[in-house]
């Protein structure tokens, strides 16, 4: 509503006829608002840049499983937890986000992924991709 007032201060007082006259102006304002919204969502989608060094303070929750040779998960089949050192950073980010969104489910990984910020995910992914 603020936006409309800004575009046309006397819109409130004017009748429907004058709104009709001002329609092009209103549409221009809406288009501008929409493009701003797109621009800002584009900024929000900008991926966080991973800092492998910063991840060193965050890996404690990973190493208890992924750092132990021979470690296995047991549901619904028994399987070795994946090797993540040397994996693609972009894929590690995709996997963590999939756990956070529910696209992938695993009791422990769901909880961990949901606790991570975008920056945490980027940092941890960069760290493990470099760890070869």
């Amino acid at each position: 509503m603020k936006l409309f007032k800004f575009m046309s201060p006397n819109l409130k007082r004017s009748g429907s006829a004058s709104i009709a006259r001002r329609l092009p102006q209103v549409f221009a304002g809406l288009a501008m608002a929409a493009s701003c919204a797109f621009a800002s969502s584009g900024l929000a989608a900008e991926p966080a840049v991973g800092n492998a060094e910063a991840a060193k303070a965050k890996v404690s929750m990973c190493i208890g499983c992924h750092g132990i040779p021979g470690y296995r998960a047991s549901f619904p089949e028994v399987y070795s937890v994946p090797k993540i050192a040397g994996q693609n950073a972009a894929y590690l980010q995709v996997a963590l986000r999939a756990y956070a969104s529910g696209e992938r489910t695993h009791l422990t990984m769901d909880a961990i992924a949901k606790s991570l910020s975008d920056q945490d995910i980027a940092d941890l992914s960069a760290y493990y991709a470099k760890l070869k």
Partner: protein
């Protein structure tokens, strides 16, 4: 003579199991080719066409099999508590695979050289 027979039996069993394993890997490679996995994951299974796709070469065989089963569960509409992966592309491939296909392709991928490791 009895001992020789036993030894021969043991030898035959050893060769047999060795051959069975080789056949599994060969069948796994055939599944990999038939489903054209390389078109995304790369011919060597460690050079995917996009970094958002995983390196598979050298991954644990039982983990790869688990992942494929999770895609199958996801495609079948299993509840989230069942450990699922919902992915349109991988789900569509996974449902075409038998239990044996899954084990074979996982074993073949695990046998391929790759950069993955257990490190901390």
């Amino acid at each position: 003579m009895k001992h020789l027979k036993l030894a021969l039996c043991g030898f035959v069993v050893m060769i047999g199991s060795g051959l069975a394993q080789a056949a599994d890997l060969k069948a796994g490679k055939a599944s990999w080719e038939k489903l054209n996995c390389a078109s995304c994951h790369g011919a060597d299974a460690k050079s995917p066409i996009m970094p958002a796709y995983p390196i598979l070469a050298g991954q644990h065989a039982d983990f790869l099999a688990h992942a494929l089963k999770a895609y199958q569960r996801g495609a079948a509409g299993a509840p989230a508590s069942a450990n699922v992966r919902k992915n349109a592309v991988m789900g569509a491939f996974a449902v075409q695979m038998s239990k044996q296909d899954v084990e074979n392709v996982a074993a073949w991928l695990a046998s391929q050289p790759g950069p993955l490791a257990v490190r901390r």
